[in-house]
């Protein structure tokens, strides 16, 4: 019978290390955590060990590692839990995964990127919208759904920039869907209010016109001034009352439309998709000072929409008077 050599200190340490690792292998790590939770009567009943989480994802890597190992070793992890595991050297299939795989999951990194990029502030103009990071702005601008007029201007950037493999700016499907629906709703809301005001304006303009047409027999449209002058001979109603009513109607409806738009943020839909706003957004990445013109442009675009209302109404009046000239 051969004499058993006493273990050297190094050998003993190595064996103990392997024994400790073996005791954590094969799902035992989670079992240990849950055992502590149970014995401590914790309200938390389920815990998953970081070692077991990685075992699931790296099992294929581990088996490959064993196959290529220079020293042939058994790959099976003992299912019985005695104190002395069959396999002493577990380095070839150690449950300790590569730190790279353990640590930063894609989600964490993505969350971190989002935090980093959305957190940065650019010291630009004193107005609010200028204080955003260009990346965030670009994302916001490019991230507008196709349904919301994204085709306009520079919005046609490749969509795969945002949702392809592991892109840090990736939006999840649910959030994407929400953004799409929100943009569609805003557009619908804008059109709805625009249509309501159009009906009111047209009704008032028609009423104004027909009132004058019916009550003033000499209410005529003509390119000849003497014909127009005939109407002024009627002393009870002057023909200038039409333009007075029209101006009043226009003023009231435009002010109401403006206030409603501000209240429901209707101008936002128009301005966000505007090509000039997009150009400023892109340009500000090269020249950050451009950002200070954004609020001015947004305001001008709102006024332009009001001007459109006046021009539409004037066009209607011109058409009506044109028709009247034939009578």
């Amino acid at each position: 019978m051969s004499e058993v050599k006493p273990l050297s200190a190094e050998e003993k340490k190595r064996l103990l290390r392997e024994r400790r690792a073996a005791k954590m292998a094969g799902g035992n790590a989670t079992g240990r955590l849950n055992n502590i939770l149970n014995q401590g009567s914790s309200v938390q009943t389920e815990a998953t060990s970081v070692l077991d989480k990685e075992n699931d994802t790296t099992s294929s890597t581990i088996s490959t590692g064993v196959e290529t190992s220079s020293t042939p070793r058994s790959t099976s992890i003992p299912i019985h839990h005695d104190d002395d595991p069959e396999i002493q050297d577990i380095t070839s299939f150690s449950p300790t995964p590569e730190p790279e795989k353990v640590l930063a999951s894609s989600e964490d990194i993505d969350a971190m990127f989002n935090k980093i990029f959305s957190g940065a502030q650019i010291p630009t103009g004193p107005d609010g919208p200028g204080g955003e990071d260009p990346f965030a702005q670009m994302l916001k601008m490019l991230g507008q759904p196709n349904g919301a007029g994204a085709g306009a201007g520079l919005g046609g950037m490749p969509e795969d920039l945002f949702n392809s493999q592991g892109n840090p700016f990736e939006l999840n499907e649910e959030e994407n869907q929400y953004q799409r629906e929100l943009a569609a709703y805003n557009l619908y809301n804008h059109k709805k209010w625009k249509f309501r005001f159009l009906i009111i304006r047209f009704f008032l303009i028609f009423s104004n016109f027909f009132y004058h047409y019916i009550t003033i027999p000499t209410f005529k449209a003509s390119s000849y001034s003497f014909i127009r002058g005939i109407a002024n001979t009627d002393s009870s109603i002057t023909t200038t009352s039409f333009i007075t009513y029209f101006t009043t109607i226009e003023l009231i409806t435009i002010v109401s439309y403006y206030l409603t738009s501000v209240k429901y943020d209707l101008f936002k839909t128009t301005t966000e998709n505007n090509i000039f706003v997009k150009i400023i957004s892109f340009g500000s990445m090269v020249l950050p000072q451009l950002e200070q013109y954004r609020p001015l442009l947004v305001r001008l675009l709102a006024y332009y929409e009001l001007l459109e209302v006046i021009l539409t109404d004037l066009s209607l009046v011109i058409v009506l008077f044109g028709l009247l000239s034939f009578l």
Partner: protein
Amino acid sequence: MDLELEPTLESIIEQDSLKWIFVGGKGGVGKTTTSSSIAVQLALTHPQDQFLLISTDPAHNLSDAFCQKFGKDARKVEGLENLSCMEIDPDAAMNDLQQQAQQYNNDPNDPLKNMMQDFTGSIPGIDEALSFMEVLKHIKNQKLNETKITYKTIIFDTAPTGHTLRFLQLPATLSKLLGKFQSLSGKLGPMMNMLGGAGGNPQDMFGKLNELEKQVQEVNEQFTNPDLTTFVCVCISEFLSLYETERMIQELMSYKMDVNSIVVNQLLFAEDEVKPCQRCVSRWKMQKKYLDQMSELYEDYHLVKMPLLGTEIRGINNLKKFSKFLLKPYDPKLDSAIITDLEDK
């Protein structure tokens, strides 16, 4: 096969190859006392070698433990010539890094500058990593009488668990982050260059991060070598501490770090007292329950049981008295005198 483990830290104290010893655990379990005790015992056992104890916890306690003011430069402990201490300020290291970045870029309107600051500040574990860089820098520059001091072992009194683990995961996080950044720079490279202006800052930034990653990677290789590095877990005999310890050990194992010792602090050993108070008996009963659990869970570890003393363990003399129980197991029948034997500070 004899694999019995003595309930002491003798193997760590006497292991010649060890270069780094980390001491960590949940907050308030006695990490600083334990790390100071380990450092004191190392210094006493190897009087011919120099040792350095470093606190990387932003809430530094070393000065109070030794009743002596320490700063960011290593200073010798009065009464123990071969032990030095230093307290590292991670914020200072972070400021240094940002100041370095400013040298390349003085434009206050540059959006990339803010991004860089946010970027460096948001990397998990960056503060701990910078502390460590700061440590290495200090050790490198540390000279005494024109002779460079070589520390045999450096002991880290770390911040509570989460902080330490974040530091250890930094190399992987950093590589992943750089990968992401590089793929992003491929897509948005020209734009990044425009953003960076004439200074070519994105390249500088990548260069710096690559350099940092390389350094951290080298350090990480040392940390995963059990001959060079070990981690001593400190806990108390309570549920939360036990759970946290087990979680930490598993996480450290996933980083391939060696953990072979656990120090259980603040034990009452009430049954051996002549007139034990009711509260002590009740608490000791609870402690024993968790000690039994620990004995089962950690039979392959050096499980060191340390007593709760009557006063705070502060000052080099008290630390010397207390720390000897890291090498010789505390026997409540023989050693109970220490409970009341400490000097008042």
